[in-house]
Structures are given as structure tokens and as C-alpha cells.
Amino acid sequence: MTKQLTGDNAFKILTAVIVASAAFILILNAYTLITGSETVLREFGGSFLTGRNWNPVIGRESFGVLPYILGTLLTSGIALLIGVPLSLGIAIFLVEMAPKIVKVPLSYLVELLAAVPSVIFGLWGLFVLRFWVLDYIEIPLNNYLGWIPFFSGAPFGLDFFTAGIILSIMIIPTVASVSREVINAVPDSIREGAYSIGATKWEVIRHWVLSYGRSGIFGAIILGLGRAVGETMAVTMVIGNAVGPNAMPTTLFQPGQTLPSLIANGFLEAPTPIEKSAYIGAGLVLLLISLLINIAAHLMVTRVFKFKGGAVE
């Protein structure tokens, strides 16, 4: 009896230590980012957030991360816009419609997409996808809809749009497999009830299944967004890596940067303390954006959905 208790206690302490270390690493991380970016924040203050220059030339230093914040939000936005409907389609098809013989191999395939290293997506984007996007999407859009600011400019293939498309492919496995689990968890009694009052398949999915699982699906989308915001390698390879005012998004078809790609490009060879500090500052902004997204998502799930009722928890 006593032996049992000590074992339990030991396990309890062990798990507590592991949980504490996760929190500790996050705090340590934030602390390092804050102390590391002190130099640049002291020098530029609030204009570090709103500035558009990124000039590391000695004697002309000026650092502002606004173009990269916008670049991060823009590429992630494109990724969600394209990736989420596709992922939901995959999830609905797999659960509600696919015959069993297709279901299993297809689920594996979608999950396998998550196992492809991001550098492979980047290489494929750089050598293959970029030309398809350029020839079949960007140039036609630019020719016919060029009067819309979003589609203006001179398409080149290495730009926000291509980066967004690569990201949309990369978030599909996450969003699709989590949504599939959520839809799978919707009790059959809900479907049966809906059918019994004469609903069509589309109506059942639209009004009952998706509505019942919406908080879970929203969680899946947030997971995908998290991946899109933080993705570095693949984005760096296809986004065109412009700096300074040249990276301010004015159209989808221009080179730009996200916060992760900015850091990946410059940090390792930053020669001066102020430049190094500026990259760490960009890291701090990225951490804050990720935190804000997570907090907002949490609030939405707990407040909005629960209030409306009918959500799975």
C-alpha cells in the first residue's frame, strides 16, 4: 500500500517537473528575447514597430519591422484562405462520403504530407511551383484584373502569393486531420435526427455536423495558422526576401518577407550589436504575434462558441 503511494507520488512529481520545465523554457525564451532586443528598442522605441527601413549599413542604421509584420499576416491570410476550404473538403469527404476502400489510404496520404520537411516544399516551390503559379495564375490575373491593386505590379513568381500558396499546402495536413477527428466525433444521433426531419446530405453537413464541431474545427484552423505564421525555410526560399520599404506589401505579386524569413536571412551574419539586437527584436514581435493569436483563439472558442451553445468540448 505504501509502496503504491510512493510510486504514484514519484510519478506526480515527475510530471509536475516536466510541465514546469515547459513553462520555464517559454519564460526563458521570452527573457532572452527581451534582454537581447533591449539595444534596438532603446534606440528606436516605438518606431521599431512602425518603421519601414531595415538599413544595417554602418552609420546609417535604421530598423523597423512593419513590412514584415504585414508580410507575415498577408502570407498566413492567403494560406488560410486557400488551405482551410481545401482541408475542410478533405475532412468532410473522408468522414461523410468516402467509401472505406478510399478512406484509409487517403487519410494516410494527407497525413504523410505533414511529414515532408519544409525545405523540400521550399525547393519544390523554387524550382517547380513558382513557374506554374507565374504562368497560370499570376500573369492571367495581372493581365485581366491588374486594375485591382492586389493584382498589379510585374509578376515574377518569387512573391507573397507564391509563399501563401506554399503555406496553404503545408497547413492542409494539420487542418484536415484535426478537422477529420472533430467531424468523426460528431455523434451519429445528431445526423440521424437531422435526416429524420428530411434534411439532405448537404444540409446535414452544413447545419448540423459543421455547426456541432465548429469549435474543434476552429481549433484546427488556429493550429494551421500557427504553422503558417512560424514557417521559415519554405517561405524564405520563395518569398523573394526584399528588405526595407521595398518589402512593404502593395500588391500580392511583389517580393517581400515575413518575420521568420527576415531572421533566418540575416541573424547569423549580423556584424554589429545593434543589427543583431534588431533581429532578436523581430523574434520578440513574432513571439508576441503568436501569443496574441493563441489568446484570441482561446477567447473565441470559450466565449463565442460556448455562448452560442452546441459546441463539442
Partner: protein, 368 residues
């Protein structure tokens, strides 16, 4: 019985382990102890350095092991300043403040490289001619079309397309960018006043890619693009390169020969010694009919008295100095096959004097 046999087995195992350790210590170690040297820095000379290291440690000094970590010039300078490595490598010479942070640092030019202007124009694989100011205007965004009168005037034998120019630059901090932007600052007043020079700059237009090979890949796969690439990468990737006008008025293609021609234009006197600042030494726009205009030396950094580095002793210091001596002499024979130019005689002389001045605790070190 069971336990005694277990104990016996354990005893035998222990005896074998102790025996082999003792045996190794008595008979296994080589007559001279293994010496390990550490270096870090620029990636540009890395293929050349690796070749010299392999040849030297397998054919000449088999008791020597040399580890070189190529993490970029900036990393080379900081590792050297913090005395984490025995030698550092950098494309850009130390600035005044960097020299202050690393007192008694010596510059040893080790090899010479060139930066090519690579382009991709359908149906035009050779023969494009450019001048420095035009290259600056292209990267500034003031010349935006391939059939701009400034370009067509130089290339009347070519039919240049009416198409926008896509410029490609390095997005990571790099010694290549440092020398390319220094060249543009030298030939263009506008470039100098608006962008300036450094290992990374705020590019007014264009697309960035990380590393020489990614820039090469982007230029070769993207029509109507132009970029700058280190000579070795350009030659190995068979990228189309432009001939650049040099101060003599000739249009010169980048090659080993034109790089060497530029390197030989260095004055025979008036160059700094290894212990002085090399900041103002450059071979940009070198005189000489056949000299290519964007040519740069790359440096090994050593301390004048090697005792400042932790773990250094006379034996290790001797090995280090003799290895560098090899790099600037016999090692130079390995350079051309890897597309690096050999050091001109005057730089070798300066290097020899520098290496002869190195001491360990005030004691001179035999250099060869």
C-alpha cells in the same frame, strides 16, 4: 555456482577492458601526439581551405587534425575576437573598432576571388557587356528595361529584349555583398549616397536569395534576371556572365586569368604589413588591360603572440604557423583547380614577413 560463474565472467571482462586500455596507452599512441587546430569563418575560401587541409593532414603532417567551421565572415571575426578558435577567416578586413577589440591581430591574405555579374537572357549566352555605373543603375532601379539605351549602346551586336530586368541579390549577410556594394559605391555616386556598402544593405529593389548557390539557381532558372555571384560558383554552375568595363576601357570577362591580372596590379610597395589595417586595401577597379574590376582578397586572421589563445603551447603554435605557411606556398597549387587565383608574389612576401613575426610567449616560431 551460478553466482561464482557470474563473478568470474565479470572479472574477465574487467581484465580485458583494463588490459586493452593499458595496451593502447603503451603501444597504441603514435610517437608524436595528435594536435588539433580549430578555425572558423568565411565560406568563400572554404573549398580551397578544405583542399589544403586534406592534403596537408594526409600527406605532410599526419599527426595533425584541422577543423574548419564555415559560418561566414562575421562569425569568423567574432570567434577570433573571443579567442575561441586558433585562426579566423574573413572576406572583409577588420574595421578600426574590430581591430581595437582584437589587439595584435594579423591579416594574412590567403587567396583571391572575383564577383561575377550573372544574367539570364533567352538566346543570349555570351557577349553581354556592362559598365560599373550601369550595373549600379540596374540595382538602384533607375535602369529597369533590358533595351534601355544605356545598355543597347554598349551591345549593338545583340538584340536585347524589351523586358523588365529582374534583379537578384543576396538576402543573407555576406562578404560577397560587402565587396559588390563597395564596388558599386566606388563607381556610382548615387549608390554611395543612397545605399552604401556592407555585408548586408537595404536593397532598393529586387529579389533576395540566401547564399551564392541560391542566387545562381534563381538567375539560371528565371528569364530576364541579373545577379552577382562569386567566381567559383559561377564557373561551376555554368552561369552566363557579363563582361565588365575596367578602368583601361576594356570589357573583361571574369576568369582565373583576369582575376590574377587584377591581383598582380597591387602595388609592390605601400601595402600594409600584416599587423596594420587592411581596410583600405582593395583590388576593385584595378589598373591593367586584362584586369577584371571586382576582385577581392580574403584573409586568415592570427594573433601576433599566440599565447593569448587558451590551450595553446609552443608545439601547437608551431604546427599552426607551419600550416598557414603551407597554405600561402605549396597550398596555392591547389587553388586554380578550384577556381581560385593564386597569390601574387608581393602578397606572399608580406605574408612571409607576417608569419615570421609571430611569437609564442615572445619566442620566435620556426615557420617551415
Amino acid at each position: 555456482m551460478k553466482t561464482t560463474s557470474k563473478i568470474a565472467l565479470a572479472l574477465i571482462a574487467v581484465i580485458i577492458i583494463i588490459g586493452s586500455v593499458v595496451g593502447y596507452i603503451y603501444f597504441g599512441t603514435p610517437a608524436t601526439e595528435l594536435v588539433i587546430l580549430k578555425g572558423a569563418g568565411a565560406t568563400f575560401p572554404q573549398p580551397f581551405l578544405n583542399a589544403t587541409i586534406t592534403t596537408y593532414t594526409t600527406q605532410i603532417k599526419t599527426n595533425l587534425q584541422i577543423n574548419y567551421a564555415g559560418g561566414g565572415s562575421g562569425q569568423g571575426i567574432s570567434s577570433f575576437t573571443n579567442k575561441e578558435v586558433d585562426f579566423g577567416c574573413t572576406d572583409a578586413p577588420l574595421t578600426a573598432s574590430q581591430r581595437e577589440a582584437a589587439p595584435n591581430a594579423l591579416h594574412i591574405p590567403e587567396t583571391i576571388g572575383a564577383i561575377t555579374i550573372a544574367y539570364n537572357l533567352p538566346n543570349i549566352s555570351t557577349g553581354l557587356k556592362l559598365t560599373g555605373p550601369i550595373v549600379a543603375d540596374i540595382f538602384l532601379g533607375t535602369i529597369t528595361n533590358w533595351n534601355d539605351p544605356a545598355i543597347t549602346a554598349l551591345n549593338q551586336d545583340l538584340t536585347l529584349p524589351d523586358h523588365a530586368i529582374n534583379t537578384v541579390h543576396r538576402s543573407d549577410g555576406s562578404g560577397t555583398t560587402n565587396w559588390f556594394t563597395k564596388y558599386l559605391s566606388l563607381v556610382s555616386q548615387t549608390w554611395n549616397s543612397t545605399v552604401g556598402s556592407g555585408t548586408s544593405v537595404q536593397w532598393p529593389i529586387g529579389t533576395g536569395q540566401s547564399g551564392n548557390s541560391a542566387v545562381a539557381a534563381t538567375v539560371t532558372t528565371t528569364d530576364y534576371s541579373i545577379g552577382y555571384i562569386e567566381l567559383a560558383y559561377a564557373l561551376q554552375n555554368s552561369v552566363h556572365v557579363a563582361a565588365l568595363q575596367n578602368p583601361s576601357g576594356n570589357y573583361v570577362l571574369p576568369s582565373l586569368a583576369s582575376t590574377t591580372a587584377a591581383a598582380e596590379s597591387l602595388p609592390t610597395s605601400g601595402l600594409p604589413s600584416g599587423s596594420e589595417s587592411w581596410e583600405n586595401v582593395n583590388i576593385l577597379n584595378a589598373p591593367g588591360d586584362e584586369a577584371y574590376p571586382i576582385v577581392t582578397p580574403t584573409y586568415i586572421l592570427l594573433y601576433q603572440d599566440l599565447s593569448v589563445i587558451r590551450g595553446m603551447d609552443m608545439n601547437k603554435a608551431t604546427e599552426l604557423v607551419q600550416f598557414i605557411w603551407y597554405v600561402i606556398h605549396d597550398g596555392q597549387q591547389l587553388a586554380p583547380a578550384l577556381e581560385y587565383a593564386t597569390l601574387p608574389a608581393n602578397l606572399i612576401q608580406i605574408d612571409e614577413a607576417t608569419l615570421n613575426s609571430i611569437t609564442f610567449n615572445g619566442q620566435p616560431i620556426p615557420t617551415h
